[in-house]
């Protein structure tokens, strides 16, 4: 094959023969891909190998009966169920807090803002996007200190505060993806919708947002993953090593990423360390599962919007 190509090349005078085909680049990119897949493979294999064996009922619930544990009738010890539940609550609450302002602000920037407002608010969002998570945690902590010293002496770090800080952390992801998805809607489609006599609100609701949905969903998924995995924010805003199931917005809570960090830092026996591996695997599955679920929902929504009769 290569011989044939070479003779072909010799037959025709090829002026830039050296560049044709970019063999070196081709090889390097293939190598990079293999190396990356290899790294990931090693990571997953390692986690599976170490965490797989402990991945059972006991990892989640310790020696508390499963149903009692799930319903919160009895506290769980030596199990990561409370942390898992805490992370789920945290993610849901964060999304509840962040979705409306995030998508709304994205819509505002893309559709309604004047050039001045656009530049100002856009810059503010860019700045927010650069805030490291530990600074966000610090912010939450100072807010509580401030509140306690001023008009709310009972304020304390809690689930709500952590969600609010996380929401602020993922806000720019939502805003930027919404804005960019809307701005990427082809101009022709906008004109066409306008020419058909749809009102501005109807255009946004029935044409622009659905068309932009894919981009918006990818932002939501990113935000989801980010809030499930972030440790630095919650470390300063209310996560604890042991709290049982989350008891309310104002209560302290457990979370999986912190549990992993905490066990790595404090383990006293190899069994405890094995639990951290199990927890890592569970967190990975949770994050992957949430992403999968979200993209399923997204494509389902798309099908329903685009498809069929009525």
């Amino acid at each position: 094959m290569s011989r044939a190509r070479a003779s072909n090349g010799a037959a025709r005078p090829a002026p830039r023969n050296r560049l044709r085909g970019l063999p070196l680049l081709r090889f390097a990119s293939r190598f990079a891909a293999v190396a990356l897949l290899g790294c990931l493979g090693a990571l997953f294999a390692f986690l599976l190998f170490k965490g797989g064996p402990v991945l059972d009922r006991e990892l989640l619930f310790g020696n508390t009966p499963s149903l009692d544990a799930i319903l919160g009738l009895r506290p769980v010890w030596d199990g990561i169920w409370p942390a898992l539940a805490g992370t789920l609550c945290l993610v849901l609450l964060t999304l509840c807090l962040a979705l409306f302002p995030g998508i709304g602000c994205g819509v505002y920037l893309a559709e309604y803002a004047g050039p001045r407002a656009k530049a100002l608010a856009g810059a503010a969002v860019d700045v927010l996007a650069g805030v490291p998570s530990i600074v966000m945690g610090l912010f939450g902590f100072t807010v509580i200190l401030f509140l306690r010293r001023s008009f709310l002496p009972e304020a304390n770090t809690c689930l709500f505060l952590a969600s609010a800080c996380l929401a602020l952390l993922v806000l720019p992801v939502l805003i930027v993806s919404t804005r960019e998805a809307l701005e990427a809607v082809p101009r022709d489609l906008r004109l066409c919708a306008a020419a058909l006599g749809l009102s501005r609100a109807a255009r946004l609701r029935h044409v622009l947002l659905p068309v932009a949905a894919r981009g918006i969903w990818s932002g939501v998924i990113l935000a989801l993953g980010r809030s499930a995995e972030d440790t630095a924010v919650i470390m300063l805003t209310g996560v604890v090593a042991n709290a049982g199931l989350p008891a309310g917005l104002g209560a302290k809570f457990e979370a999986l990423p912190f549990a992993i960090y905490y066990i790595t830092a404090q383990y006293q026996s190899q069994e405890e360390l094995a639990r951290a591996f199990g927890a890592s695997l569970v967190l990975l599955l949770l994050a992957g599962g949430l992403m999968l679920l979200a993209s399923r929902l997204a494509s389902g929504y798309r099908r329903r919007w685009a498809g069929g009769k009525a």
Binding site: L196, G197, R200, P210, K309
Partner: protein, 285 residues
């Protein structure tokens, strides 16, 4: 009086760069009116001035007066502020109201959305929403409140039959519309417009992206449509202009004038362009 659209002193600029300068023109109430011109001469801007679509572009400023007959006589479609801002000519705003006492009444209450619905517009490339054939037709119908979900299938069928798509697409209404061929897509766009029962049709080079066969099909439909209402069409194809008949205008550097008014029609246009009779005959074939 017998005009579908009457434009007076229309100025349109984008970011201060003028696209139309003091355009005054009136198009007949029925039949096809063709606007010819080079790229960049302002044809599309003029067309979009009639359904106020220019406002969807950033940095656009229009002044002047556009009156459209949507079945109840000519009425202004731009708000008064636009007309008043013409500035150097004192005439538009005050004069407009004084004269048009009779005709103007009533239609002012039309919202922008309603105005655009009553004026159908077809673009150069078929602009279908990325959804099924059926939804493409049903969405504007139900959203503009023209009919309920229940009545929609009948109207959609009528519209599809009119453009000759019903037989082809009958069993495939729930397939994505963007999988159709170019000609089918453009006809589907036309059906979508017609389902909304427009009083006036604006066409922006509707056959530019289609092959000869599909173009002819669309042209035939348009000729049929033009029997009952005004159709204003932008084109840069001379042969198409000659085929379609009707009156011809030429757009040049932001202004418009009828092609050889004394003779009128395609022949007049050809005369203006110094085309020989034989060449014209060839093009007409």
């Amino acid at each position: 009086m017998n005009a579908s659209v009457e434009i007076t002193e229309l100025d349109v600029s984008f970011f201060g760069r003028p696209a139309l300068r003091r355009v005054s023109v009136s198009f007949p109430a029925r039949g096809i009116s063709l606007i010819l011109g080079r790229s960049g001469s302002g044809k599309s801007t003029l067309l979009r001035g009639i359904n106020r679509l220019n406002e969807e572009f950033e940095g656009c400023a229009s002044t002047g007066r556009v009156r459209v007959d949507l079945g109840r006589g000519l009425c202004d479609i731009y708000p008064e502020s636009c007309r008043g801002a013409a500035g150097d000519k004192p005439e538009p705003a005050a004069a407009g109201r004084a004269q048009g006492s009779g005709e103007e009444r009533g239609v002012q209450a039309l919202s922008l959305a309603e105005l655009r619905r009553r004026i159908g517009m077809l673009f150069q490339t078929p602009n279908l929403f990325p959804m099924s054939v059926y939804r493409n037709l049903a969405l504007p119908l139900t959203l503009t409140g023209l009919c309920t979900q229940k009545e929609a299938p009948d109207r959609i069928r009528t519209a599809l039959e009119y453009v000759g798509l019903w037989k082809e697409l009958r069993g495939r209404l729930d397939l994505p519309a963007q999988g159709l061929s170019g000609g089918q897509q453009q006809r589907l766009c036309l059906a979508r417009l017609l389902a909304l029962e427009p009083a006036l049709l604006l066409l922006d080079e509707p056959t530019a992206s289609l092959d000869v066969h599909a173009s002819r099909h669309i042209e035939e439909l348009l000729r049929d449509i033009a029997r009952e209402r005004a159709v204003i069409m932008v084109s840069h194809s001379l042969s198409q202009a000659l085929r379609m008949g009707g009156s011809v205008w030429i757009c040049e550097q932001g202004s418009i004038k009828p092609a050889c008014p004394e003779k009128g029609g395609a022949q007049g246009f050809a005369a203006e362009k110094n085309l020989s009779e034989e060449l014209l005959a060839k093009l007409l074939e």
